[in-house]
């Protein structure tokens, strides 16, 4: 468990516990964000011990040290999982998956953290598995759509997102943040601007549409520059490259929509 003189289990529990009453530091740091910084600077060879510590805390939760605050415990643990880069996260996937389908987690509405931890540890789900997570889909739609996207189920994610937007089931601010994260992993053959416009059309109210328009504008999607290559934002250039790829390689379109 210990690496050198570091006992990661103790260190993680200490950060989780201190986070609850944290007063952010001079640059807004909190115990968990400090620990996240420390984890992201670890060498790959140092990470297995952190993986082991987190997996141990998932399998054998120590909620008592958190004064019984289960929500903060699971939220913090799944957050930290993101900062393990390069190490084999198989153990984490497996323990989070077990918790994901654990009825007691579902009862306490904690499954969403297990889902987040599982997906962050590079776990992937099938459409039927996602469909079975109805409660998460209803209460944490962005986390659920993120799981679909990260599982490579783009059409599935698109269709469900459209429906959720139409039915006003999703907080738009959170959804747009999700899109910021997903555009890089989204099927490269898809015209992202078109996709976002489709989502915007699905939003039933005017304020919601404005949020989308603002999002698109801020990323240069709605500019129509004379020399697009020279003027597009980095994200805009990404869209141009998608579009160019689409025009130059029709197979891309066929394979995605076949």
């Amino acid at each position: 468990m210990a690496q050198g003189n570091i006992n990661w289990r103790v260190k993680i529990l200490d950060a989780l516990e201190r986070e609850r009453n944290a007063v952010p530091g001079r640059a807004g740091e909190t115990p968990l964000s400090d620990l996240a910084s420390e984890l992201s600077q670890l060498l790959v060879a140092q990470q297995p011990e952190v993986v082991e510590a987190i997996a141990g805390l998932v399998m054998h939760p120590d909620i008592e040290s958190m004064g019984g605050d289960e929500k903060e415990y699971w939220s913090g643990l799944s957050f930290l999982t993101k900062y393990i880069h390069g190490a084999d996260t198989e153990t984490l996937r497996s323990v989070f998956q077990e918790k994901l389908f654990d009825p007691s987690m579902k009862e306490k509405r904690l499954s969403v953290y297990a889902l987040h931890g599982f997906i962050t540890a590079r776990g992937r789900l099938l459409p039927d598995q996602l469909r079975s997570l109805v409660e998460i889909q209803q209460h944490a739609p962005v986390a659920w759509l993120g799981a679909a996207t990260m599982s490579g189920l783009f059409d599935f994610a698109r269709e469900n997102a459209l429906q959720m937007l139409k039915d006003n089931q999703i907080d738009l601010g959170s959804f747009l943040l999700g899109m910021d994260a997903w555009y890089k992993v989204w099927d490269k053959c898809v015209n992202f601007k078109q996709l976002m416009e489709e989502f915007r059309s699905a939003v039933p109210n005017h304020e919601g549409k404005i949020k989308f328009t603002k999002w698109l504008e801020r990323r240069g999607f709605l500019d129509e520059p004379r020399n697009p290559r020279a003027q597009a934002s980095p994200l805009g250039r990404g869209v141009l490259s998608f579009t160019n790829k689409l025009l130059s390689d029709p197979r891309c379109y066929i394979s995605n929509h076949a």
Binding site: V10, N21, S33, F79, A140, S174, L177, R218, P234
Partner: protein, 252 residues
């Protein structure tokens, strides 16, 4: 030796040297800490609780008790806010408990450091708008450093050196979102005391930032702490803008 001095010798010295704290305040602190077990985790927890508490005798908060700083129209407040702290704040949406991926912050960060001034402004606006909907760690103390060059605040400084000169934990500029806070609202700014600084390693008494060893000898900046501010909501953050030194970032 007092367990606090044993575990946090530098911070203990800061408390002893802090002229803004009375001898009684200092003695009370060390007397309380004398009862702690000599274990770093225990001592830290006990000290943090002490700093954040209210003094039972005076009924006053132990924080934000330093000398007042008069902010004028010519004072600019600079701040470097850590991106990882934003990731932590975005952990969960307070509206519905939904979870957004931390990669969204990476997208902002990338746009901020590669975009032009307009894009930087967009990113800052978006960060501040978004944080209002999330579990901001609030209300809490906001730290800022002061400039008195209204014409081109920040422009004369080398942004690459700022984290080091400010004594921040990480010296890489791209770990922070730089911003300038407007103070058109009545803000009660104070010189930080050692109790405000808690267990910060790179802080020293005197009202100026404490440069890290890597940039020793570089002047610090006057620093201030302000209370009652939320990450979102009606406060200083609303008037935050990208400082002039963003031009230096564009050139890179």
């Amino acid at each position: 030796m007092n367990p606090f001095e044993d575990c946090f010798s530098r911070q203990a010295l800061n408390i002893k040297n802090c002229t803004q704290l009375s001898e009684e305040q200092k003695n009370n602190f060390f007397d309380t800490m004398a009862h702690a077990a000599n274990d770093e985790i225990v001592v830290r927890k006990m000290a943090e609780e002490y700093f954040r508490d209210t003094d039972p005798k005076t009924k006053k908060k132990r924080k934000l008790c330093g000398e007042s700083i008069v902010l004028t129209d010519e004072t600019c407040l600079g701040r470097m806010h850590k991106w990882k702290a934003i990731e932590d704040e975005l952990r969960e949406c307070k509206i519905n408990g939904d979870i957004v991926p931390a990669e969204a912050v990476l997208g902002w960060k990338e746009r901020f450091f590669t975009g032009n001034s307009a894009i930087k402004r967009n990113v800052l606006e978006e960060v501040l708008e978004t944080l209002q909907d999330f579990n901001a760690k609030s209300p809490y103390i906001i730290w800022a450093f002061l400039y008195k060059e209204i014409d081109r605040p920040f422009a004369k400084e080398n942004i690459e050196e700022l984290p080091c000169r400010l004594g921040l934990e990480n010296i890489m500029t791209n770990e922070y979102l730089p911003m300038e806070l407007k103070h058109d609202l009545a803000v009660d700014a104070k010189k930080p005391t050692a109790f405000d600084a808690e267990l910060d390693k790179y802080w020293c008494p005197g009202g100026r930032t404490c440069a890290r060893n890597e940039c020793a000898g570089k002047n610090g900046f006057e620093e201030a702490v302000m209370s009652g501010l939320h990450t979102g909501g009606v406060n200083l953050w609303h008037a935050a803008k990208v400082p002039t030194f963003d031009l230096a970032l564009v050139k890179k």
